[in-house]
Symmetry: C2
Subunit: 358 residues, 2 copies
Amino acid sequence: MYRIIKTVPRCIFGKGSLDQLDEILKPFRSGPDNGIVFMADDYFRDKPLSGRIPAGKHDMLLWINVDDEPKTSVVDNLRDRILSESGFVPAAVVGIGGGSIMDYAKAVSVMITNSGSSVLYQGLNLAKNPAVFHIGIPTLSGTGAEVSMTAVLTGPEKKLGIKGEFTPFDLVVLDPELIRDAPANQRFYTGMDAYIHNVESLCGTSRNCMSDSYAHQSQVLCREAFLGTGLSREEADEKLMIASWFGGLSIGFSEVGVCHALSYGLSYVLGYHHGIANCIAFNQLEDVYGKDTDDFHRMIEIHKIDIPHNISKGFTDNQLLHMAEVSIKLDHMWKHAYGPEWRNVVSIDKIVGWFRKM
Amino acid sequence: MYRIIKTVPRCIFGKGSLDQLDEILKPFRSGPDNGIVFMADDYFRDKPLSGRIPAGKHDMLLWINVDDEPKTSVVDNLRDRILSESGFVPAAVVGIGGGSIMDYAKAVSVMITNSGSSVLYQGLNLAKNPAVFHIGIPTLSGTGAEVSMTAVLTGPEKKLGIKGEFTPFDLVVLDPELIRDAPANQRFYTGMDAYIHNVESLCGTSRNCMSDSYAHQSQVLCREAFLGTGLSREEADEKLMIASWFGGLSIGFSEVGVCHALSYGLSYVLGYHHGIANCIAFNQLEDVYGKDTDDFHRMIEIHKIDIPHNISKGFTDNQLLHMAEVSIKLDHMWKHAYGPEWRNVVSIDKIVGWFRKM
């Protein structure tokens, strides 16, 4: 049995395409009560971007703090706030920000039309009702969250996405100008998510000609963006934006692997953001990814990026065990990496060993 | 202003995935009257594939002849027949065949819910009502019709597609086994549509990082499929199927150019099928496409394919002029190839000159 892969059905790509947002939203403003909910990273609250969000008087503009990884509790609160303050189901939800905002916008759009806590929907195809029309506008590139069918959430018991038919955005606006001013470290950590997606997608049992094709081209673009010479920042940004899109699509048709499984453990127990957690893990995974880690190390060097290392000195035994337990539960990732008999290869001890190298 | 590109939102890819069709259709069979319309190439009528089409007693199985290119008159007849014979709007339309069947299935799905002749809808975003849910199952790869937002039709006045939000399939089943038994010439002519899409997409003013990325990877796959050594037929088929998908997506974000404009003229006036018409034209376009025609010539040689040449000897002056007139009307293709001032470069005489070389 092959899975039906749901992807984003509408896309606008181009420098300055954000300016078309007001026009895009017109059909959603037909009724008197049809408000739009904008969810934007509060990093932009005092930045010029805030003035470009076309929020009208019937709309709701929510500034979201993403110091922490997206949480089920925050999703539930946002949903309740939207429904109680506006008094009606919004005509559309627009997310503007990095991967965390993409995840929040997707999750809230699903939860507006599905009752109960978002904790109940962490898993595959658990939502029963179609989501509110939702639009993604990424301001960081790499996570692929703008194109994926998962809204990754950390809940009281697990870090796992709301994944399914209704999760992907209905429309994504890809405006490479929006990622221009990202801080260098942030840009790198997030960009490496795409690079790592491709490596993991290509390196496991779920791979196929579709996922390989996306991963190969995304890898070409990542290498141009991070190892290329003679590229303008503008050119590199465009390539990075498409690398993220293709990387996300590759994972959609394949699966993530060892690095993401370890990274989820780091994030869950120690609160590291996804991008940096991936980098911390990938940095020490030569035994799994071979020469792909060499390219990664060259990218770090060229871009003078600080990847935290020797952090395991500060881990308590309890933390280590907890991280490994979170990690080993991600059955689908290990299965992709090592096949259905992955438990013959991967144990809590082996995972603890990987964490100790970080 | 950038365009919103509508793409196919659901895809299943994998050898044997056709066997899941019955399961996929289950949700569409909920009501007593909810029949499915299957539209299949009549080439398969006495082939094993016919036994794998899960048509039930409430369904309609239409065998379609595609000796001629898809026509508006045939679309209108099919639509009328479906509505009068079944007495209700079908729950879904499933197209099984090559590019012509893909175009018929897309066009009929739109026309079931939009009144009048399909001639009225040849153009961009002219249909007002959403189409019936439609599923595409390609049995030839290259045209990209399975993923494009156009159903190309020849009408009494022009060859032009029904293009828009409602045209693309809602779901596509990509089963590489289905293209395995295609006749060698047919496989080649159709496959070259993808190769030519990529060359044209990369060679014009509408190109961008998204369309380039799809075209580059599609070109890698085309070269592997048609120039690669050591590939099994099964591997080549998979690559060709994804090359078609990526090529179609590239064109979606960019545009076709000189070769397609000439090919449309050939098809309209002389009735050549799209794939072979493209090959006849591309074969003589060294002055436009340079070294990309060299690779094309190598592919012809390796696969021992007959591309008709010296056919212009048989053209009457009237035919030549008519072809050139059909061609020059394709403003969007010429604009892509030579920019907004294309009329300074391209004239009826120049086009006639190209046709005379064929």
